[in-house]
């Protein structure tokens, strides 16, 4: 009997994977619902006895979309899949805990040393060295410590957290348990956005399975579903929300690693950061540090989105250029019109244009442009993009999602939006540009968190206002 891997992943499902699975079953296939490979333009992509097909619209016309052996698809084979190595290759609940149990025998100090050696930086946006947080949580005495996983993935153009939680939830469970063991935390909570119901369902199932496997005897694992607030991706806002409150940003100090959830030391990490940990321990921190360039070590789960031919997730070593990613991997715009701009790093990221495309994708190089890699999302626009409209949106988004605690963001975003409107309507251009420039300075410097603090990045870059 033929074995068919049918992705069970939100995008594939939206494009018909569920129906395909039913039909394959009816036709007598052994159907396994697997994770997705993340190649959006090929979804739904089936793997039948090792042979890949996609995008599949009609089971009777499979050969028209034959892709050959799955491991030979260049868009998979040429990746450096460390986080996503298992994803897509079988039933996510099919999990053998032997390796994990073995790793949990290692001493916390050893594990933290590996993390330090790996040079891993947070994948949630800020790119902060992971080991410093681990060490701090480990070293801060407290009655209780927590691991909090940031699965709020609010940035437009990103879906890596969703893909891994839907396709390989045990990778995250491994990361959480290893982090708990290393820091001394005995409770871990995943803060998942409500827009990801399938991820919630699969992850809940994985927790139950982990319990069955005896992995949760000394560790409490909870899944919390958010309620629709971009700002709750900001770690302190997330912690407030996890305490059942309004997600208003907290001031720092103290940092969460010292006083986080319920004022206890808390390791807050993005999903992909924690999911990078097993790979690091498998290959050793030193070996991981060899991948990538400079202080941008290891692999990054880049996500190509927007107006793009071959959108999807590509896990690659840091260091390739934006052009390589957009043109070689992505195949240019989907509309077929000339490239216009790419926004790198989510709604708070910079719009980059033709002249910036040769910048290497590293923390260091993007910082030079006043941009950032963020969560690794790149949103491509064709030449119809209206820069004024995007600057307006940047302010509007901030106005919509600002927690409202601090003045520069709460009022500034609205005034920014209104000023761009006036600008677009052709009013006193020079004055308005001056006002926006100063407003951007105030928001950047004086905001309490990076929501207000980074909104000037897309605004300035879209309007071509230098800093």
């Amino acid at each position: 009997m033929s074995r068919a891997l049918v992705p069970s992943e939100t995008l594939a499902n939206a494009l018909g994977a569920n129906e395909l699975a039913r039909e394959l079953e009816a036709r007598g296939y052994e159907v396994v619902r697997s994770g997705g490979f993340g190649l959006a333009w090929l979804e739904p992509m089936l793997v039948i006895d090792g042979q890949a097909y996609g995008p599949v619209r009609d089971l009777d016309a499979l050969e028209e979309v034959a892709l050959g052996p799955v491991d030979e698809i260049p868009a998979i084979a040429r990746q450096r899949r460390i986080v996503f190595d298992r994803c897509g290759r079988g039933d996510p609940m099919d999990y053998d805990p032997a390796w994990l149990l073995d790793q949990l025998q290692r001493s916390p100090r050893e594990i933290i040393a590996e993390i330090r050696a790996s040079g891993l930086r947070g994948r949630g946006g800020a790119g902060f060295p992971a080991h410093i947080k681990w060490q701090t949580v480990h070293d801060t005495p407290a009655p209780r410590k927590y691991i909090v996983v940031n699965a709020d993935e609010g940035d437009s153009g990103t879906f890596a957290d969703r893909l891994i939680m839907e396709g390989d939830p045990f990778r995250l469970i491994e990361g959480m348990l290893l982090a708990g063991h290393a820091t001394g935390a005995d409770k871990g909570i995943v803060y998942l956005r409500s827009e990801y119901p399938l991820a919630a369902q699969i992850f809940a199932q994985a927790i139950a399975k982990a319990r069955e496997l005896g992995l949760l005897e000394n560790f409490v694992m909870e899944l919390f579903i958010g309620a629709g607030a971009y700002i709750c991706g900001e770690e302190t806002s997330l912690l407030e929300s996890l305490e059942g409150k309004r997600g208003e940003v907290r001031t720092k100090p103290p940092v969460p690693a010292v006083a986080g959830l319920f004022r206890q030391p808390t390791l807050v990490h993005n999903v992909i950061s924690l999911c990078s940990v097993p790979g690091i321990l498998k290959m050793s921190g030193a070996a991981y540090a060899e991948i990538g360039v400079g202080l941008s070590t290891g692999s990054m789960t880049f996500q190509l989105a927007g107006n793009i031919q071959r959108g999807g997730l590509y896990e690659l070593p840091f260091g390739l250029s934006i052009r390589e990613l957009v043109e070689d991997w992505g195949g240019g715009t989907r509309s077929g019109r000339p490239f216009g701009a790419v926004q790198v790093g989510g709604p708070l990221g910079a719009y980059l244009f033709e002249e910036d495309l040769d910048t290497p994708l590293t923390y260091e190089a993007t910082a030079q442009l006043g941009a950032g890699i963020g969560h690794g999302g790149l949103v491509v626009f064709d030449d119809t993009m209206d820069r004024m409209q995007q600057a307006h949106f940047a302010f509007a988004f901030c106005a919509h999602e600002s927690c409202g605690k601090c003045t520069p963001c709460r009022i500034g975003a609205v005034r920014g939006k209104e000023t761009v409107e006036a600008l677009a309507a052709g009013e006193y251009t020079e004055d308005k540009i001056a006002v926006i420039t100063e407003l951007c300075d105030v928001m950047e410097e004086a905001s309490l968190c990076q929501m207000g603090g980074m909104t000037p990045i897309p605004v300035r870059s879209a309007l071509g206002i230098g800093k």
Partner: protein, 945 residues
Amino acid sequence: MRLDDPDYGTPASRSEERVSLAIDGASIEVPAGTSILRAAIEAGIPVPKLCASDNLDAFGSCRLCLVEIEGRRGVHASCTEPVRDGMRVRTQNEKIARLRRGVMELYISDHPLDCLTCSANGDCELQDMAGAVGLREVRYGEGENHLGAAIDDSNPYFSFDPGKCIVCSRCVRACSEVQGTHALTIDGRGFDSSVKTGAADFFGSECVSCGACVQACPTATLMEKSVIEEGVPDRSVRTTCAYCGVGCSFRAELKGDQVVRMVPDKLGKANHGHSCVKGRFAWGYANHPERVVKPLLRDRISDPWREVSWKEAITEAAARLKSVQAEHGLHSIGAVTSARCTNEEIFTVQKMVRTAFGSNNVDTCARVCHSPTGYGLKQTYGTSAGTQHFDSVMRADAILVIGANPTDGHPVFASQLKRRLRQGARLIVMDPRRIDLVRSPHIEAESHLPLLPGTNVPMMNAFAHVVATEGYVDEAFVAERCDRESFAAWREFAAQPENSPEAVAEVTGVPAADIRGAARLYASVKNAAIYYGLGVTEHSQGSTMVMAMANLAMATGNIGREGVGVSPLRGQNNVQGSCDMGSFPHELSGYQQIIEAGVREKYERAWQVKLLPEPGMRIPNMLDAARGGSFKGIFIQGEDLAQSDPNTQGVEAALGNMDCVIVQDLFLNETAKFAHIFLPGTSFLEKDGTFTNAERRINRVRQVMRPKSGKSEWEAVQELSAALGYPMNYQCAADIMAEVAALTPDFAGVSFDKLDRLGSVQWPCNDGAPEGTPIMHEAQFVRGKGRFMLTGYQPTDERTSRKFPLLLTTGRILHQYNVGTQTRRTRNLEWLAEDQLEIHPSDAELRGVRTGDRVSITSRMGEIVLKATVTTRVAPGVVYTTFHHPATGTNVVTTDLSDWATNCPEYKVTAVEIRPANHLSDWQREFQQRDARQRELQPAEPAAT
């Protein structure tokens, strides 16, 4: 022209460790944990701020306090940034100035530009800060704004104009952090963020109108209506609130001679800048048109009143008192002092009785509330006062609240207690009712023991049993500090099986396991503190219960340091003082016994009179004797016996039987209906003197306005005394305190000068403790060794029966105060226009009673009718009401049983029956008639201001 004290932005750090840093080049040393903002302001370096206030945790939202820190990128909010050793900070430069202006420009872009006509003009932090950062123009065009938001005027005392709000959250944080009510929130997010209550408006919400939000607001958003109407005040006088025993310090703010608002004083050591609705807002009675400001005279109580001069009133009063004495003997007259008057006023009255009257027939209204406290604590510890200062609660790990309802009765202390609970202290509530402390937002008692009224003593004995039999005795403390023999007897007594939780479960109505659990909790933590109220004292076994609590605290070593103790929550502002000032018949000031020859000699020398050695009559004795015909004249200052004392009909009969009733008060109160001479009194705003609060803290009361009557009480009494043949010659209130200090060891170090210098002191204040004594019994008990007293349970004679199956207990609510003389003459009335009866749903159903129905309450003493509220706050078998309105006549039904040791009446236990009723009771009808009749007898022109 700011009237308030400087605000340091963030709370002071308590750290011992010191840190040095440089701010704008100046070297500064502050405790670790201090914010940069506070360090700067303390050093005299101004840093602009709007969301920071030193009674709130740092919040970091306004972004005006930005500074640069050497070696770190960008700018940092100085309110949320703690100082570090060696830090170098810049608070001013071109960039910082530009950013601050930019932030201010944003604020003003959503704020009305009507400063000159705004009610806060000149008293607005936003205005000040706009000036400080040098904002000159707002370049944003017209855009989205909140200017049209509707004003909420529903609260009687303050208005909320959201169009002026800058969303700094200070009000929201004050409501949560300071007051602990959590009635406010920010609603929405981003630009839509706005301050809201949980209801449609303030009045309909959880808001208790404490005023903390108004105080916190930096703009005119939350503003006293009195300021809107009368304008921003221009001077202020520090004084002390005259409501409850917390004794909050206030700044009375005036414009010209007119009081515009009362603002809680940050420097007040009892309240640290907080207040409740009564002290903050309900002071308008002082200017109420019903105030009587001229002396009145009449021959019979059926005669109309006649306005007379002070001279005539005093002469006539002296003549009548003398003639009563001539006819009926030395002991046929007496006086009652009031816990609402100043120490100086009280001292003068008792002195007049002991000198000019020539007897010891003086008693105080503390008789009816806290006399058992004095007795019980004196017997066990050696001093008639609570052991702690309020701040001590911040160190308690477990708090046992017995027979008190602090959130209503002592709201400002309750806020502090709740703050401690939110920090993690554990709470036990022992009370028949489910008071708010049992469970309200963000706090919850670990244990509530809803015992039947009248069963405090067996309950406390069961606590003792658990302590004595489960190894919770602090043996070291007891061995070192307590009297060995009495302890041995107590231990044996406590261990008796009839005191076990199992044995008392039935009589108290509380399961044994709950009692054991609560006792263990109290006994097992490091610091356990007891706070109690009239639910302890106003029982036939009130004194026993006070001693039982004192025993428990001693046995567990919970005495003599912060976080522990036995603390009475005194009802009225100066209950402590009225006891301290020698107005009990058997005691001179400072609890010096009249029967002791040495004590008498001291006073005799000072006063140049002979004192009688035997104690005089207590209030109930006077009333008994009056009914019997041998007591014929009384001087009552500031106290409404006819409403507040139990068995109203009995009191009325006694008053009606006297020949010369002299009342000194603000209003023609219920007692004045039986009076022959009325002397106008002064409100606290007109007084000069001192009040002593529940923590023995002597606070200054300062004259804010001239006495409307033209005379202070002590002046009037001094004149009356002179007319009776004993002149006193005080020139001012300070002279009186000087005499108290000279005669009273515990007050030897007290003087107005010192009070003005230190703000307040807690007695004992003498050479041993020149700055006062926050905590008593630290090294040893005042009486030497702590003495355990046996506390056998004698059930009250008041029992339920088939005819009277329910137990009535009484109390008060937040917005009204005692008999309501003051609060009923303010807009506080809007919160409770009449007294209501609380009854449990099962008892209500059995009797066909629904919320809002009128019901009659009958006891063995009488009947009254009022409105019912069906609620599970009371347990089945228990009903509850308040006594704020004279027309209710709550004390018509209470009995004349009283504490065996002190005669404190048993207000808290009355067997009653409840029935639906659609009539007024006989007494209430009579009351209405008498009230109407007496109104007609008032001087034609209401003696208005």
